[in-house]
């Protein structure tokens, strides 16, 4: 059989590429920074930066309009998960006032092939996702907080990402145009 006929499953390779690259980055950060909390913070910031760019890509590709309410937002983020990570998390645990909800991930592509050693148990490995959600929503004028409640890497059943709506950001006047 000639080798040119060997084809890889491109989607799977791409997914593993992201996973492995991310892993290499986290390993490097742990080497660079002495404090595990700093690493978590950096990962969140990195995710935030990715989020502000991802949202443009997302809006351009899907052509969706403004969100009507937070439920709508949650659904759209769910479809973004599907688009970028190939997973479909459940939206659950709505708070009574309707300003908080969770994404339940039964599998997480970022943590495939990953195991946390004991001395890094406090590392929030998936903080990138929280940052990405925060960054993306900020670009559509929603100020939210996002954090990890459960983590499969720490022995939990699912990975749970909590999102809390803080406030709606107002259009600001461009500088110098009073």
């Amino acid at each position: 059989m000639s080798r040119s006929t060997t084809r890889f499953d491109v989607k799977k390779v791409n997914s593993e590429l992201v996973t492995l690259t991310y892993g290499a980055l986290v390993a490097q950060m742990i080497k660079d920074l002495d404090n595990v909390d700093d690493v978590s913070k950096q990962l969140e910031r990195l995710g935030y930066n990715m989020g502000i760019r991802l949202i443009e890509d997302f809006l351009a590709k899907t052509g969706t309009g403004r969100c009507l309410d937070l439920k709508d937002t949650a659904d759209k983020i769910q479809s973004a998960f599907k688009m970028y990570l190939g997973i479909q998390p459940n939206v659950t645990n709505w708070s009574p006032s309707g300003d908080e909800f969770s994404f339940m991930l039964d599998s997480n592509p970022l943590t495939e092939l990953v195991e946390l050693p004991d001395d890094l148990k406090s590392l929030k490995y998936c903080n990138l996702l929280c940052g990405a959600i925060r960054g993306a929503l900020e670009m559509v004028q929603l100020d939210v907080q996002s954090w990890i409640v459960q983590d499969q890497l720490k022995g939990d059943q699912n990975t749970e990402i909590r999102v809390k709506f803080i406030r709606r950001l107002e259009d600001a006047m461009p500088a110098g145009e009073d």
Binding site: V18, A24, Q28, L85
Partner: protein
């Protein structure tokens, strides 16, 4: 994972992160891309193991290089290498006429001084994957006219 742009964004952020942590340590000195190269190295080292686990053994060095230029490059960068040249003494030149990380950066010489940042990771990936296939080498990139890029591979024999 469905979308490729995710990898592009992640790569960009890694570049930014490495440059920032550089700045803290050695302000004013030349850009040090070795960390970026190393992140690429460990990625390449791991991914090649998974890609080739069910493949027959490569015949020789050239066969390995051909694999890198075709299947491996397709899997990672969505296209084949456009040109592979070798002197049959351990030097290989891989030319990609529209390298994925550069296509959206510039078409010509604008931003040429920033371009090495966006190829260092890939140099590492090539070095890592060859290292895991038992070929120790040095990989450098030559940039003249974006988005084309030449990767020079120098095999080290001992």
């Amino acid at each position: 994972m469905a979308d490729e742009s995710l990898f592009d964004f992640l790569h960009n952020e890694i570049v930014t992160y490495v440059l920032e942590s550089n700045n803290k340590q050695n302000a004013g000195k030349d850009e040090d891309l070795s960390v970026l190269e190393y992140i690429g190295f460990s990625t390449g080292y791991r991914i090649i193991e998974r890609l080739t686990k069910e493949m027959p053994r490569f015949k020789d060095e050239l066969d390995t290089m051909k694999f890198v230029c075709t299947d491996f490059w397709c899997a990672l960068y969505k296209k084949q290498i456009d040109n592979l040249r070798t002197n049959h003494h351990g030097i290989y030149v891989l030319q990609d006429n529209s390298f994925r990380f550069l296509t959206r950066l510039s078409n010509g010489k604008q931003y040429l001084d920033a371009a090495p940042r966006y190829v260092a990771f890939t140099c590492g990936v090539i070095r890592g994957c060859l290292a895991n296939l038992n070929i120790m080498c040095l990989v450098t990139a030559e940039l003249q006219n974006m988005p084309s890029c030449k990767f020079h591979i120098q095999v080290q024999r001992t």
